[in-house]
């Protein structure tokens, strides 16, 4: 009894092992048996739900309960990294204050009430459609306008990517917001920022450096350097998908993928469908000529 008590005293262990007092001898029984919370869990591979980059995530779970979400070191996109938002995906899912019901405050009401998602969606769609239908201005002073000023959105610096995405998509793409000429832009490559000598916000903000902006040739050589880096790490199957030698003449983006690009439904030789158009029209003209000629010949022999 006394012996066990003595042996659990770290200094005894230190004398026994001759350590300097900072090694395993200093650890308590509890510390020694500590295991990471991801131990003995099951893992599923997933993709981060936030922006369009698609960083890899490992979802650790046990007994149908989420344990942790970590970056996936095997992802060729993010190499195990996650941005602050992606790294907090665990809290996004498990936070006790996470709202699971749609909240609605009636006009002049002082309290919030819960709504079914379906009901809320219908209400929003109805209101947007009605506002747009009753206030849309197509022409003003003889000029095409195509706008409505009746739909607005209140926001601030704390809006997240998703809200900004929705505003951008719905209000410019879906509802023709541009007040001057009615045109809709999904992305201007941040022309305002570029004029001020800055790079587009998405490229600037991307913590995993997956969204890049710059001279195309420089980006291409950067991609080549990255391939070399991956090869040096023992990843031999990384390739760049950037088809230039076909009728599409490049796809305005290039991807670094592992394995055959066909595995990601990226065709080895994408072609524009109209590449044979001239052949088609020639053939149609010949067919029309033959048809006319045959009809003329056939009726020439007919008794008058």
């Amino acid at each position: 009894m006394l012996r066990e008590l003595l042996l659990s005293w770290p200094v005894i262990k230190q004398i026994q092992t001759g350590g300097d007092g900072t090694g395993p001898e200093a650890m308590s029984q509890r510390t020694l048996t500590l295991r990471p919370r991801t131990a003995e869990t099951r893992v599923a591979r997933s993709i981060c739900p936030y922006c369009g980059v698609g960083c890899g995530q490992l979802i650790f779970h046990k007994d149908n309960k989420l344990i942790s979400i970590e970056g996936d070191p095997e992802s060729p996109i993010s190499r195990g990294r996650l941005c602050p938002k992606g790294a907090d995906s665990y809290e996004l899912l498990t936070h006790p204050q996470r709202e699971l019901k749609v909240k609605y405050r009636r006009p002049f009401a002082s309290d919030w009430e819960d709504l079914e998602l379906e009901t809320a969606m219908d209400m929003i769609a109805e209101r947007v459609w009605e506002s747009r239908a009753t206030t849309f201005v197509e022409q003003k002073d003889g000029q095409t306008l195509m706008q409505t000023k009746a739909i607005g959105h209140l926001g601030g610096a704390t809006l997240d990517n998703e809200e900004n995405y929705l505003i951008k998509k719905l209000f410019t793409g879906g509802l023709e917001k541009n007040e001057r000429d009615g045109r809709a832009f999904k992305c201007t490559f941040c022309s305002d920022r570029q004029q001020a000598g800055l790079i587009p916000a998405c490229a600037k903000a991307c913590p995993t450096e997956s969204i890049k902006f710059g001279d195309l040739q420089e980006l291409r050589s950067e991609a080549q350097a990255r391939i070399k880096e991956l090869n040096a790490q023992g990843i031999q199957d990384a390739v760049i998908y950037d088809p230039l030698d076909t009728s599409v003449k490049g796809i305005h983006a290039f991807f670094l993928v592992r394995g055959d690009p066909a595995m990601y439904n990226l065709p080895p030789r994408p072609e524009v469908p109209t590449r044979y158009l001239k052949k088609g029209w020639t053939s149609a003209a010949l067919a029309a000529g033959a048809m006319l000629g045959a009809t003329l010949l056939a009726f020439l022999g007919e008794k008058r």
Partner: protein, 347 residues
């Protein structure tokens, strides 16, 4: 001022060792469905295979054509109407067979109007047809087709009505209107019968795209075949010229069929296999060899019933050909292996 050295932080970059371990875990999980050595167990194994042989989990690369029955029906009706306009004008020019001219003019006019109706139905909202006419885009076969159809249906209707008036009131201005409208209808009719081949050939669907050279004459011959057949079923079984045209177009359809059967390329597989293959093959049989045989038999025996049989067979074949080609396009778009240049699936 002394500087406190920063502690060495472990790099977050995965090293070769951890990459290798993950690869091992993954391989073991894929093969056995579980991982024994590591402290964690991979779930979901065996994973769905995403290999060069299967493409992206076997999900088709292309979207299927969304056309309903209206479009193949339009191809059929428009082709027959276009060819009828040609027959009407040529017969008017070279023969005195007034009844044939009148019937052909009305076939063209009715077909033109039906075509416009089918196309408008396909567009869903009628005003969209007008939107197609906002500009003329030579680079878009669909736009060229919309203009062709508009001109064709207008002038074929004008020619038919002028023809009708002429029978009551024989005056030179009516003659001129009928002839000019008829020629405009015939000129656009030639395009009506053939452009549909270019239309589907200028899409990404492989079986259409690769056959863009053969589709226009194929459809043109099919259109002429059905126009002749309709006229014969309307009672023109005494016209030698119609029989010659029927013979010629059936012979061309035989050639086309033989060509499709002999060119055993992968891209043409939907023309031989499955529901689309059956439709194209039966359609080819009904519009090629069968009417050809009936017409040759008529030339020998002079029995007009043989021509009516040839006509019925050709009509059914022509319709089935169009339906079959559209169906083949659906099957072709569904085959992800073709655009990805993957080997054919081992059955």
């Amino acid at each position: 001022m002394s500087r406190v050295p920063l502690p060495q932080m472990p790099s977050r970059l995965p090293d070769l060792e951890s990459e290798r371990r993950l690869l091992e875990i993954r391989r073991e999980a894929e093969e056995t469905g579980a991982v024994k050595a590591a402290g964690t167990v991979l779930t979901g194994a065996p994973f769905p295979k995403m290999t060069p042989a299967t493409g992206y989990y076997g999900i088709p690369l292309l979207k299927q054509p969304q056309w309903k029955k209206e479009v193949p029906l339009y191809f059929f009706v428009g082709g027959a109407a276009g060819a009828s306009a040609v027959v009407a004008s040529v017969a008017d020019l070279l023969t005195t067979n007034e009844r044939l001219v009148t019937n052909a003019r009305w076939l063209a006019a009715t077909g033109g109007m039906l075509s416009a109706a089918f196309l408008t139905k396909d567009l869903g909202v009628p005003s969209r047809f007008l939107h197609m006419l906002r500009v003329f885009k030579l680079q878009s076969p669909m736009n060229v087709g919309a203009w062709t159809l508009t001109v064709f249906s207008t002038f074929s209707a004008a020619a038919a009505f002028a023809n009708q008036i002429r029978q009551e009131l024989d005056a030179t201005p009516i003659h001129v209107i009928e002839n000019l409208s008829g020629m405009a209808a015939a000129a656009t009719g030639l395009a009506m019968a053939s452009y549909t081949g270019v239309l589907i050939g200028a899409t990404a669907v492989p079986v259409w795209n690769r056959n863009i050279g053969t589709l226009p004459p194929h459809f043109a011959a099919s259109g002429m075949n059905s126009s002749v057949s309709l006229l014969e079923l309307l009672g023109h079984t005494d016209s030698r010229a119609l029989n010659i045209l029927g013979l010629a177009s059936s012979a061309y359809e035989c050639l086309e069929g033989a060509k499709l059967e002999s060119a055993r390329t992968r891209v043409n597989e939907p023309l031989r296999r499955g529901a689309s293959g059956l439709m194209v093959r039966i359609g080819g049989l009904l519009s090629g060899p069968l009417p050809l045989a009936f017409r040759l038999a008529y030339a020998l025996t002079g029995k007009r019933n043989l021509r009516r049989m040839a006509a019925s067979s050709s009509l059914a074949g022509s319709l089935l050909t169009r339906l079959g080609w559209i169906q083949a396009g659906r099957a072709s778009a569904n085959d992800h292996r073709l655009p990805l240049e993957l080997p054919e699936q081992v059955a």
